[in-house]
Symmetry: C2
Subunit: 199 residues, 2 copies
């Protein structure tokens, strides 16, 4: 019996996190490994590591659209580039970090609703309206959830999770850990699965 788990660090503003979010739980089931959804702030990770958004390079930004379309087709998920991208997701991620503290099992359904708003419906995942809807999708009280955006424990949790990810080697999103083994990007989920199946 293994007590291993997959820690899935994600940011709602990251399109490749959106892709990974759609397939990570199935991977966990195939390998008998629980998945822990861990909100972090990609902007903070970039700042701490000196990394930068891939989309800063124009040629890369253009390619990412094509690349995302190919992945979305492969995974069978809807994808539309958000007209607000790149978006400061601090408020959204603080709310999720607050939810993680109080109701960790609700992070996943709430995050999936926010990902959909951001990457399939061209809506603003930092808005009260979308946050309320996502809270309801997670079975949470909308107003209490919204209030987490300004709650100190939620702020502290988000910062601590981002710092922790950096300390463990992260520089981008999504980042998956199994203990000290790190995997970066939805395109490394195959490596993660091979690693887990080796035992």
């Amino acid at each position: 019996m293994s007590t291993r788990e997959i820690e899935f660090f994600f940011d709602i503003g990251s399109s490749y996190s959106y892709l990974a979010a759609h397939v990570i739980d199935a991977l966990g089931q195939r390998t008998g490994t629980p998945v822990r959804w861990r909100p972090f702030l990609l902007g903070g990770v970039f700042k701490a590591t000196g990394n930068d958004m891939p989309a800063r390079i124009m040629a890369k930004a253009r390619y990412m659209i094509v690349d995302m379309d190919r992945w979305a087709e492969q995974y069978g998920v809807p994808f539309e580039i958000n007209s607000r991208f790149p978006l400061v997701t601090l408020r959204t991620m603080r709310v999720l970090a607050g939810v993680e503290l109080e109701h960790p099992e609700k992070v996943r359904p709430m995050a999936l609703a926010l990902f959909r708003a951001m990457w399939a419906e061209d809506r603003d995942p930092t808005s009260d309206e979308v946050l309320r809807e996502a809270a309801r999708a997670g079975g949470l009280d909308p107003e209490a959830t919204l209030a987490l955006a300004d709650a100190q424990p939620a702020k502290d949790r988000l910062r601590a999770s981002s710092d922790e990810a950096v300390a463990r080697g992260a520089f981008g999103a999504p980042t998956m850990f199994v203990g000290d083994q790190m995997f970066w990007g939805n395109d490394r989920l195959d490596h993660l699965e091979r690693f887990l199946k080796k035992g």
Copy 2:
């Protein structure tokens, strides 16, 4: 019948190009698509696009070693980080561009010998010794091949190929094209294969 081909842009100094070099021809055979090996200068592509070496970010550099080890194991190819990395491969790539002009079918065997020296044997692929050996591996005259490093047509060809790749959207290596469809990285060979199999 298709007249399509895979254009495989690579730089000997790029570890992910090394990985792709080991599997691209098998992909071509599986899909009935000829592969054209096209030397270009990754440093020139970075300069033109404003992109930068992934290894500039310390956390990314550390992860790349782990990531390369995983790929090497998956592909069953030897890998050892070159103690000279990052290396200016201008001389090597000029020679290959010259070979491409005169004996295009010899680029592949010569490049494979150079990739091995760089990424499996910790040798200097810009040295006369390694270049001569690689020329012999390609069935070419060592001294005549070495002389290409200073030949104007070889220099012009390398620059033209790098400029062409950038004009078509490239920003890194390896980059594969099938007409106007671009695929970046050995980790997108699956996408390339799916594309080719769709017809």
